[in-house]
Symmetry: C3
Subunit: 138 residues, 3 copies
């Protein structure tokens, strides 16, 4: 069994941002030389997400509106977590979107459906944060 | 390390439908000959879900009502994604329900709790769509 | 390839409770002797969750308030599932929080970000319930 590990770093100018990281994840898989196995890709921070969906800008606007409805950023004082912080909403938004994805590796490629793309979802940006890619297989 | 891959195909007559796929997934595991490992089961489409919950029809009605409350199908024009599409709600519903499950394989069986059943959740049906099963182990 | 399996048992006095299980999961990993691989940790019950977030009591109060808003416990009769049960809300709350986490194992340790902690989320407690830890690797 082989394994491979790499961190990807992100720093967004916006508080919230969705970034298609499929090319970077494919690159990490390529470096690993693993042909058959499983790839884990997770946010290492609890106010960010890694998820799979469509790379369509209208949908990304819909995610923003929808997450603000389910877990609004403001007023900050509605959340107990926001005594010293202002990012409670980011913890909740990331919970909806998910921490991680596990993707099959087949023939040395990410075994994704036709529209599946891997995204980093930042919900409390403007600082450096990491995504972990870990691959095991042969 | 062994690995095994299979696609399961679904085509529902309804826009939304929950299908218990535990028997099919167990069949794939049996074909693989893998006794100890991890099994990934994911929707290959971004308007469908694979999740684990109870096979109880009342609960399934509750999921339908609840998802329609959290991310209503109509009016279609409330979503930016619905310029050429009408399925933005399906992307959001699938996000709540999740893309994938990872299940332990122990002694050649799905290592599930007493009421755990694996479901395909279709939120934009009436066309052929796929689920991927990938198993690694020994 | 090595594999290791262990069940963790919980019985809460409260209906809902979040428990930091990171030390127990680390202990299971240590027992396994596995240095590189993937660790699956999942609730074996469909009214409970395993998730990763911050161990901060204010945030945990926010989760309680938020989940009660998204999927209120009462009135019980609002849910079809509650003919013989009263826990439909727990199925929905667990769906939001997720069934499982997959964590990378690197150098014999849980490969977590600085604030990532693993939680058992109980949404229908007062009885014995299980969490499964399954690790594969080398």
């Amino acid at each position: 069994m082989k394994s491979h590990r790499k961190e990807l770093w992100f720093e967004t100018r916006e508080r919230r941002k969705l970034i298609n990281i499929t090319p970077q994840v494919e690159q990490v898989l390529s470096e690993s030389g693993i042909k058959e196995g499983l790839l884990l890709c997770n946010a290492m921070h609890i106010t960010a997400s890694v998820f799979i969906n469509d790379d369509e800008s209208g949908l990304h606007q819909d995610f923003e509106t929808w997450l603000e409805k389910l877990a609004p950023e403001k007023p900050y004082e509605q959340y107990h977590h926001n005594g010293y912080e202002d990012n409670a909403d980011a913890h909740l938004k990331r919970t909806v979107m998910g921490r991680e994805v596990v993707v099959a590796v087949t023939g040395g490629r990410l075994d994704l459906g036709p529209w599946e793309q891997i995204f980093y979802g930042e919900f409390d940006g403007k600082r450096k944060k990491r995504v972990l890619v870990k691959i095991i297989g042969e």
